[in-house]
Protein backbone atom coordinates (compact mmCIF):
# COMPACT_ATOMS: atom_id res chain seq x y z
CA UNK A 1 0.00 0.00 0.00
CA UNK A 2 1.30 3.44 -0.81
CA UNK A 3 1.69 5.90 2.05
CA UNK A 4 -0.49 9.01 1.94
CA UNK A 5 1.89 11.86 1.30
CA UNK A 6 0.67 15.30 2.33
CA UNK A 7 2.18 18.69 2.04
CA UNK A 8 2.79 20.56 5.30
CA UNK A 9 -0.10 23.02 4.84
CA UNK A 10 -2.34 20.16 3.74
CA UNK A 11 -1.46 18.20 6.85
CA UNK A 12 -2.13 21.21 9.09
CA UNK A 13 -5.52 21.77 7.40
CA UNK A 14 -6.56 18.12 7.70
CA UNK A 15 -5.45 17.90 11.33
CA UNK A 16 -7.39 21.09 12.21
CA UNK A 17 -10.48 19.73 10.42
CA UNK A 18 -10.17 16.51 12.40
CA UNK A 19 -9.72 18.39 15.67
CA UNK A 20 -12.69 20.65 14.85
CA UNK A 21 -14.84 17.62 14.26
CA UNK A 22 -13.66 15.52 17.19
CA UNK A 23 -12.93 18.26 19.74
CA UNK A 24 -14.68 21.52 18.79
CA UNK A 25 -13.73 22.59 22.26
CA UNK A 26 -12.13 20.94 25.26
CA UNK A 27 -11.75 21.66 28.94
CA UNK A 28 -8.27 21.01 30.24
CA UNK A 29 -7.33 21.27 33.90
CA UNK A 30 -3.76 21.77 35.02
CA UNK A 31 -1.19 23.95 36.69
CA UNK A 32 -0.36 27.33 35.18
CA UNK A 33 3.17 27.81 33.96
CA UNK A 34 5.03 30.42 31.92
CA UNK A 35 2.15 32.82 32.26
CA UNK A 36 2.75 36.12 30.47
CA UNK A 37 0.79 39.06 29.09
CA UNK A 38 2.03 40.74 25.91
CA UNK A 39 1.26 44.30 24.82
CA UNK A 40 -1.33 44.48 27.57
CA UNK A 41 -3.64 42.38 25.39
CA UNK A 42 -2.41 38.90 24.49
CA UNK A 43 -2.04 36.15 27.06
CA UNK A 44 0.25 33.15 26.73
CA UNK A 45 0.63 30.31 29.20
CA UNK A 46 1.11 26.59 29.56
CA UNK A 47 -0.96 24.11 31.51
CA UNK A 48 1.03 21.23 32.83
CA UNK A 49 0.84 18.12 34.94
CA UNK A 50 3.52 15.61 36.00
CA UNK A 51 4.15 14.39 32.53
CA UNK A 52 2.97 16.81 29.90
CA UNK A 53 2.50 20.47 29.03
CA UNK A 54 0.14 22.20 26.56
CA UNK A 55 0.39 25.75 25.24
CA UNK A 56 -2.50 28.17 25.46
CA UNK A 57 -3.19 31.52 23.84
CA UNK A 58 -5.89 34.05 24.64
CA UNK A 59 -6.69 37.68 25.52
CA UNK A 60 -6.78 39.50 28.84
CA UNK A 61 -10.59 39.79 28.54
CA UNK A 62 -10.88 36.08 29.30
CA UNK A 63 -8.95 36.27 32.55
CA UNK A 64 -11.04 35.85 35.70
CA UNK A 65 -8.53 38.08 37.50
CA UNK A 66 -4.76 38.25 38.01
CA UNK A 67 -3.16 34.82 37.56
CA UNK A 68 0.22 33.44 38.58
CA UNK A 69 2.26 30.38 37.78
CA UNK A 70 1.37 27.56 40.08
CA UNK A 71 -2.38 28.23 40.22
CA UNK A 72 -4.68 25.40 39.20
CA UNK A 73 -7.14 26.29 36.47
CA UNK A 74 -9.61 24.67 34.10
CA UNK A 75 -9.47 26.16 30.61
CA UNK A 76 -12.12 25.71 27.94
CA UNK A 77 -10.67 26.27 24.50
CA UNK A 78 -10.32 25.27 20.89
CA UNK A 79 -7.30 23.10 20.08
CA UNK A 80 -5.55 23.83 16.78
CA UNK A 81 -2.30 23.42 15.00
CA UNK A 82 -1.14 26.84 13.93
CA UNK A 83 0.60 27.05 10.57
CA UNK A 84 3.56 28.97 11.99
CA UNK A 85 3.50 28.61 15.78
CA UNK A 86 2.66 24.97 16.30
CA UNK A 87 -0.01 23.40 18.49
CA UNK A 88 -1.90 25.50 21.02
CA UNK A 89 -5.33 25.82 22.55
CA UNK A 90 -7.18 29.11 21.94
CA UNK A 91 -8.78 30.11 25.22
CA UNK A 92 -12.55 30.59 25.57
CA UNK A 93 -12.92 30.62 29.37
CA UNK A 94 -10.62 30.21 32.33
CA UNK A 95 -11.93 29.00 35.69
CA UNK A 96 -9.90 28.67 38.87
CA UNK A 97 -9.86 25.22 40.44
CA UNK A 98 -9.35 24.33 44.11
CA UNK A 99 -9.64 26.46 47.20
CA UNK A 100 -5.97 27.34 47.25
CA UNK A 101 -5.91 28.79 43.74
CA UNK A 102 -9.23 30.52 44.22
CA UNK A 103 -8.11 32.19 47.43
CA UNK A 104 -4.78 33.21 45.99
CA UNK A 105 -6.37 34.70 42.87
CA UNK A 106 -8.93 36.48 45.01
CA UNK A 107 -6.17 38.06 47.14
CA UNK A 108 -4.32 39.26 44.04
CA UNK A 109 -7.46 40.71 42.53
CA UNK A 110 -8.48 42.30 45.82
CA UNK A 111 -5.13 44.11 46.01
CA UNK A 112 -5.43 45.27 42.40
CA UNK A 113 -9.01 46.57 42.76
CA UNK A 114 -8.36 48.08 46.19
CA UNK A 115 -5.53 50.09 44.67
CA UNK A 116 -8.06 51.44 42.15
CA UNK A 117 -10.32 52.50 45.01
CA UNK A 118 -13.23 50.20 44.21
CA UNK A 119 -13.75 49.28 47.87
CA UNK A 120 -13.46 52.78 49.36
CA UNK A 121 -16.05 53.64 52.05
CA UNK A 122 -16.55 57.03 50.41
CA UNK A 123 -18.05 55.30 47.36
CA UNK A 124 -20.78 53.58 49.36
CA UNK A 125 -24.24 54.99 48.75
CA UNK A 126 -27.18 54.68 51.16
CA UNK A 127 -29.93 52.31 50.10
CA UNK A 128 -33.49 53.68 49.82
CA UNK A 129 -35.45 52.62 52.89
CA UNK A 130 -37.78 51.08 52.08
CA UNK A 131 -37.37 50.66 48.31
CA UNK A 132 -40.41 50.58 46.01
CA UNK A 133 -38.79 48.45 43.30
CA UNK A 134 -36.09 45.84 43.82
CA UNK A 135 -34.00 44.37 41.01
CA UNK A 136 -33.02 40.84 42.05
CA UNK A 137 -30.14 38.86 40.52
CA UNK A 138 -30.42 35.29 41.77
CA UNK A 139 -31.13 31.74 40.75
CA UNK A 140 -34.91 31.26 40.71
CA UNK A 141 -34.54 27.62 41.76
CA UNK A 142 -32.34 28.38 44.78
CA UNK A 143 -33.25 28.34 48.45
CA UNK A 144 -31.59 31.77 48.66
CA UNK A 145 -34.18 33.26 46.31
CA UNK A 146 -37.11 31.74 48.19
CA UNK A 147 -35.71 32.76 51.60
CA UNK A 148 -35.24 36.35 50.44
CA UNK A 149 -38.77 36.63 49.03
CA UNK A 150 -40.34 34.98 52.08
CA UNK A 151 -38.63 37.25 54.63
CA UNK A 152 -39.26 40.37 52.53
CA UNK A 153 -43.00 39.74 52.16
CA UNK A 154 -43.38 38.88 55.86
CA UNK A 155 -41.79 42.17 56.88
CA UNK A 156 -43.19 44.60 54.32
CA UNK A 157 -45.77 44.72 51.54
CA UNK A 158 -46.16 46.70 48.30
CA UNK A 159 -42.58 46.20 47.05
CA UNK A 160 -42.22 45.27 43.37
CA UNK A 161 -39.54 42.63 42.78
CA UNK A 162 -38.06 42.16 39.29
CA UNK A 163 -36.01 38.97 38.98
CA UNK A 164 -33.35 38.18 36.40
CA UNK A 165 -32.70 34.46 36.75
CA UNK A 166 -28.97 33.63 36.51
CA UNK A 167 -26.53 30.81 37.15
CA UNK A 168 -24.77 31.64 40.39
CA UNK A 169 -21.93 29.11 39.99
CA UNK A 170 -20.03 27.52 37.14
CA UNK A 171 -18.31 28.77 34.04
CA UNK A 172 -21.07 30.95 32.67
CA UNK A 173 -22.09 32.49 36.03
CA UNK A 174 -19.80 35.57 35.90
CA UNK A 175 -21.02 36.52 32.41
CA UNK A 176 -24.69 36.04 33.30
CA UNK A 177 -24.39 38.00 36.55
CA UNK A 178 -22.56 40.82 34.77
CA UNK A 179 -25.19 40.92 32.02
CA UNK A 180 -28.04 40.96 34.54
CA UNK A 181 -26.53 43.96 36.35
CA UNK A 182 -26.02 45.68 33.01
CA UNK A 183 -29.61 44.96 31.98
CA UNK A 184 -31.04 46.51 35.16
CA UNK A 185 -28.83 49.56 34.71
CA UNK A 186 -30.15 50.07 31.19
CA UNK A 187 -33.85 49.89 32.06
CA UNK A 188 -35.89 53.01 31.36
CA UNK A 189 -37.48 52.65 34.81
CA UNK A 190 -34.55 51.36 36.90
CA UNK A 191 -35.20 49.67 40.23
CA UNK A 192 -34.35 51.61 43.41
CA UNK A 193 -31.87 48.94 44.54
CA UNK A 194 -30.13 45.87 43.09
CA UNK A 195 -29.90 42.76 45.21
CA UNK A 196 -27.43 40.09 44.15
CA UNK A 197 -27.70 37.01 46.27
CA UNK A 198 -26.98 33.29 46.62
CA UNK A 199 -26.67 30.76 49.43
CA UNK A 200 -23.50 29.33 50.92
CA UNK A 201 -21.17 26.87 49.24
CA UNK A 202 -17.56 25.86 48.61
CA UNK A 203 -14.88 28.20 47.34
CA UNK A 204 -15.45 26.74 43.84
CA UNK A 205 -19.20 27.41 44.09
CA UNK A 206 -18.73 31.01 45.17
CA UNK A 207 -15.84 32.06 42.94
CA UNK A 208 -18.03 33.85 40.40
CA UNK A 209 -18.56 36.57 43.04
CA UNK A 210 -14.83 37.17 43.30
CA UNK A 211 -14.15 37.51 39.57
CA UNK A 212 -13.00 40.83 38.15
CA UNK A 213 -15.98 40.82 35.78
CA UNK A 214 -18.65 40.62 38.46
CA UNK A 215 -16.80 42.84 40.95
CA UNK A 216 -16.42 45.64 38.40
CA UNK A 217 -20.05 45.27 37.31
CA UNK A 218 -21.19 45.73 40.95
CA UNK A 219 -18.84 48.67 41.49
CA UNK A 220 -19.96 50.50 38.35
CA UNK A 221 -23.71 49.98 38.84
CA UNK A 222 -25.59 53.27 38.85
CA UNK A 223 -28.25 51.58 40.94
CA UNK A 224 -27.22 51.11 44.60
CA UNK A 225 -26.28 47.50 45.26
CA UNK A 226 -26.74 45.02 48.09
CA UNK A 227 -24.79 41.76 47.78
CA UNK A 228 -25.61 38.83 50.06
CA UNK A 229 -23.57 35.67 49.74
CA UNK A 230 -24.53 33.21 52.41
CA UNK A 231 -21.38 31.86 53.99
CA UNK A 232 -19.54 32.31 57.23
CA UNK A 233 -15.92 33.17 56.77
CA UNK A 234 -14.65 34.85 53.60
CA UNK A 235 -16.20 37.92 52.08
CA UNK A 236 -16.39 37.92 48.27
CA UNK A 237 -15.01 40.82 46.26
CA UNK A 238 -18.49 41.65 44.94
CA UNK A 239 -19.59 42.17 48.58
CA UNK A 240 -16.62 44.50 49.17
CA UNK A 241 -17.53 46.51 46.06
CA UNK A 242 -21.24 46.70 46.90
CA UNK A 243 -22.83 49.68 48.63
CA UNK A 244 -23.98 47.33 51.35
CA UNK A 245 -23.43 43.67 52.17
CA UNK A 246 -25.61 41.23 54.05
CA UNK A 247 -24.54 37.97 55.65
CA UNK A 248 -27.38 35.90 54.14
CA UNK A 249 -30.31 36.33 51.73
CA UNK A 250 -32.66 36.60 54.74
CA UNK A 251 -30.44 39.24 56.32
CA UNK A 252 -30.58 41.13 52.99
CA UNK A 253 -34.38 41.30 53.25
CA UNK A 254 -34.08 42.48 56.88
CA UNK A 255 -31.70 45.29 55.88
CA UNK A 256 -33.81 46.42 52.93
CA UNK A 257 -37.21 46.90 54.57
CA UNK A 258 -38.54 47.61 58.06
CA UNK A 259 -40.64 45.10 59.97
CA UNK A 260 -44.20 46.38 59.82
CA UNK A 261 -45.16 44.56 63.06
CA UNK A 262 -42.40 46.37 64.98
CA UNK A 263 -43.41 49.66 63.36
CA UNK A 264 -47.04 49.11 64.27
CA UNK A 265 -46.14 48.41 67.90
CA UNK A 266 -43.96 51.52 67.95
CA UNK A 267 -46.79 53.61 66.49
CA UNK A 268 -49.15 52.29 69.16
CA UNK A 269 -46.66 53.34 71.88
CA UNK A 270 -46.33 56.76 70.33
CA UNK A 271 -50.10 57.11 70.16
CA UNK A 272 -50.43 56.27 73.85
CA UNK A 273 -47.68 58.76 74.65
CA UNK A 274 -49.48 61.43 72.61
CA UNK A 275 -52.74 60.72 74.50
CA UNK A 276 -50.91 61.11 77.81
CA UNK A 277 -49.28 64.37 76.76
CA UNK A 278 -52.59 65.80 75.52
CA UNK A 279 -54.42 64.81 78.74
CA UNK A 280 -51.64 66.22 80.91
CA UNK A 281 -51.53 69.50 78.98
CA UNK A 282 -55.31 69.97 79.27
CA UNK A 283 -55.22 69.12 82.96
CA UNK A 284 -52.39 71.60 83.58
CA UNK A 285 -54.25 74.30 81.63
CA UNK A 286 -57.36 73.69 83.72
CA UNK A 287 -55.44 73.88 87.01
CA UNK A 288 -53.78 77.07 85.83
CA UNK A 289 -57.14 78.62 84.97
CA UNK A 290 -58.63 77.69 88.39
CA UNK A 291 -55.61 79.24 90.10
CA UNK A 292 -56.06 82.47 88.15
CA UNK A 293 -59.77 82.57 88.87
CA UNK A 294 -58.92 82.29 92.58
CA UNK A 295 -56.28 84.94 92.05
CA UNK A 296 -58.83 87.26 90.49
CA UNK A 297 -61.29 86.82 93.37
CA UNK A 298 -58.59 87.22 95.99
CA UNK A 299 -57.16 90.27 94.28
CA UNK A 300 -60.55 91.98 94.15
CA UNK A 301 -61.33 91.14 97.80
CA UNK A 302 -58.00 92.49 98.95
CA UNK A 303 -58.52 95.66 96.95
CA UNK A 304 -61.98 96.20 98.41
CA UNK A 305 -60.55 95.69 101.91
CA UNK A 306 -57.82 98.20 101.13
CA UNK A 307 -60.29 100.77 99.85
CA UNK A 308 -62.53 100.18 102.86
CA UNK A 309 -59.65 100.67 105.31
CA UNK A 310 -58.65 103.80 103.50
CA UNK A 311 -62.22 105.11 103.67
CA UNK A 312 -62.59 104.40 107.39
CA UNK A 313 -59.32 106.16 108.12
CA UNK A 314 -60.38 109.26 106.25
CA UNK A 315 -63.82 109.23 107.80
CA UNK A 316 -62.20 109.21 111.26
CA UNK A 317 -59.94 112.04 110.22
CA UNK A 318 -62.93 113.94 108.98
CA UNK A 319 -64.90 113.44 112.17
CA UNK A 320 -62.04 114.96 114.10
CA UNK A 321 -62.94 118.25 112.38
CA UNK A 322 -66.68 117.98 113.29
CA UNK A 323 -67.66 121.13 115.32
CA UNK A 324 -70.38 119.19 117.21
CA UNK A 325 -67.66 116.97 118.68
CA UNK A 326 -65.97 120.10 120.09
CA UNK A 327 -69.29 121.35 121.52
CA UNK A 328 -69.77 117.98 123.24
CA UNK A 329 -66.39 118.43 124.86
CA UNK A 330 -67.64 121.74 126.47
CA UNK A 331 -66.62 124.28 123.90
CA UNK A 332 -69.03 126.97 122.63
CA UNK A 333 -69.50 128.88 119.37
CA UNK A 334 -69.97 132.64 119.87
CA UNK A 335 -71.53 135.06 117.35
CA UNK A 336 -71.92 138.82 117.56
CA UNK A 337 -74.59 139.31 114.94
CA UNK A 338 -73.36 137.32 111.95
CA UNK A 339 -69.76 137.67 112.98
CA UNK A 340 -68.09 134.62 114.45
CA UNK A 341 -66.08 135.66 117.50
CA UNK A 342 -62.67 133.96 117.87
CA UNK A 343 -60.68 136.38 120.08
CA UNK A 344 -62.28 139.07 122.44
CA UNK A 345 -60.80 142.26 120.99
CA UNK A 346 -63.95 143.54 119.26
CA UNK A 347 -66.25 142.81 122.18
CA UNK A 348 -67.41 145.74 124.36
CA UNK A 349 -69.45 145.85 127.48
CA UNK A 350 -73.13 145.94 126.66
CA UNK A 351 -72.75 143.95 123.37
CA UNK A 352 -75.37 141.27 122.69
CA UNK A 353 -73.80 137.88 121.99
CA UNK A 354 -75.27 134.65 120.58
CA UNK A 355 -73.77 131.59 122.31
CA UNK A 356 -74.24 128.04 120.89
CA UNK A 357 -73.68 125.29 123.42
CA UNK A 358 -73.86 121.49 122.83
CA UNK A 359 -77.46 121.31 124.07
CA UNK A 360 -78.61 124.99 124.23
CA UNK A 361 -78.57 128.34 122.50
CA UNK A 362 -78.01 131.49 124.68
CA UNK A 363 -78.46 135.21 123.95
CA UNK A 364 -76.45 137.27 126.51
CA UNK A 365 -75.35 140.83 127.27
CA UNK A 366 -71.69 141.43 128.00
CA UNK A 367 -71.09 142.74 131.54
CA UNK A 368 -67.31 142.54 131.68
CA UNK A 369 -64.48 141.89 129.21
CA UNK A 370 -61.15 140.42 130.38
CA UNK A 371 -58.38 139.85 127.81
Amino acid sequence: MTDLILGVSEFVAILNQTLEYAYPNVVIEGELANFKVSKNRWVYFDLKDDQASVKFFGTIYQLPGPLEDGMKVAVRGVPRLHQQFGFSVTVQTITLVGEGSIKKASKLLEAKLAAEGLFEESRKRPLPYPPKRIGLVASAESAAYHDFIKVLKKRWGGVKIILIDVQVQGEIAPKQIEQAIEQFNQMANMPDVLVITRGGGSADDLQAFSTEQVTRAVASSRIPTLVAIGHEVDISLAELAADKRASTPSNAAELLVPDRRALKANLQNQREYLDQIASRNLSDARKNLVARHDGLNLGVEQLIDRFKSDFVLRAKLLSAYDPHAALARGYAIVHKGVELIRGGKNIAVGDELDIQLYEAHLTVDVKKVRI
Binding site: D275, L282, R286, L289, R292, L296, G299, V300, L303, F307
Partner: protein
Protein backbone atom coordinates in the same frame (compact mmCIF):
# COMPACT_ATOMS: atom_id res chain seq x y z
CA UNK B 1 -66.20 89.92 61.06
CA UNK B 2 -63.91 89.81 64.11
CA UNK B 3 -61.91 86.60 64.43
CA UNK B 4 -62.22 84.94 67.85
CA UNK B 5 -59.22 85.51 70.07
CA UNK B 6 -56.82 82.63 70.64
CA UNK B 7 -56.25 80.96 74.01
CA UNK B 8 -52.86 82.67 74.23
CA UNK B 9 -54.35 86.11 73.53
CA UNK B 10 -57.10 85.71 76.14
CA UNK B 11 -54.59 84.30 78.63
CA UNK B 12 -52.35 87.34 78.15
CA UNK B 13 -55.32 89.69 78.68
CA UNK B 14 -56.23 87.93 81.96
CA UNK B 15 -52.64 88.22 83.15
CA UNK B 16 -52.84 91.94 82.36
CA UNK B 17 -55.98 92.36 84.48
CA UNK B 18 -54.45 90.45 87.42
CA UNK B 19 -51.32 92.60 87.23
CA UNK B 20 -53.43 95.76 87.28
CA UNK B 21 -55.35 94.59 90.33
CA UNK B 22 -52.08 94.12 92.17
CA UNK B 23 -50.73 97.55 91.26
CA UNK B 24 -51.04 100.42 93.80
CA UNK B 25 -52.44 102.76 91.11
CA UNK B 26 -55.79 101.02 90.62
CA UNK B 27 -58.80 103.23 91.38
CA UNK B 28 -62.11 102.27 93.00
CA UNK B 29 -64.05 103.22 89.86
CA UNK B 30 -62.00 100.79 87.80
CA UNK B 31 -62.45 97.85 90.15
CA UNK B 32 -65.87 96.60 89.12
CA UNK B 33 -65.05 96.85 85.39
CA UNK B 34 -61.75 95.01 85.85
CA UNK B 35 -63.45 92.25 87.82
CA UNK B 36 -66.24 91.92 85.25
CA UNK B 37 -63.74 91.70 82.36
CA UNK B 38 -61.60 89.18 84.24
CA UNK B 39 -64.55 86.85 84.83
CA UNK B 40 -65.63 87.16 81.19
CA UNK B 41 -62.17 86.15 79.97
CA UNK B 42 -62.05 83.20 82.38
CA UNK B 43 -65.37 81.95 80.97
CA UNK B 44 -64.01 82.24 77.42
CA UNK B 45 -60.85 80.34 78.40
CA UNK B 46 -62.94 77.57 79.93
CA UNK B 47 -64.93 77.34 76.68
CA UNK B 48 -61.67 77.03 74.72
CA UNK B 49 -60.47 74.18 76.93
CA UNK B 50 -63.78 72.39 76.60
CA UNK B 51 -63.74 72.69 72.80
CA UNK B 52 -60.16 71.39 72.65
CA UNK B 53 -61.07 68.39 74.80
CA UNK B 54 -64.00 67.59 72.50
CA UNK B 55 -61.88 67.84 69.33
CA UNK B 56 -59.20 65.59 70.83
CA UNK B 57 -61.83 63.01 71.76
CA UNK B 58 -63.19 63.03 68.19
CA UNK B 59 -59.68 62.65 66.73
CA UNK B 60 -58.92 59.75 69.08
CA UNK B 61 -62.12 57.95 68.06
CA UNK B 62 -61.58 58.48 64.33
CA UNK B 63 -57.88 57.41 64.55
CA UNK B 64 -58.88 54.26 66.42
CA UNK B 65 -61.36 53.39 63.61
CA UNK B 66 -58.70 53.89 60.88
CA UNK B 67 -56.16 51.60 62.54
CA UNK B 68 -58.77 48.88 62.89
Amino acid sequence: MKTAKSYQELSAELDGILAKLQSPEVQVDELSELYKDGLKIITQLEDHLKQTENIIEKIKLSAAKEIE
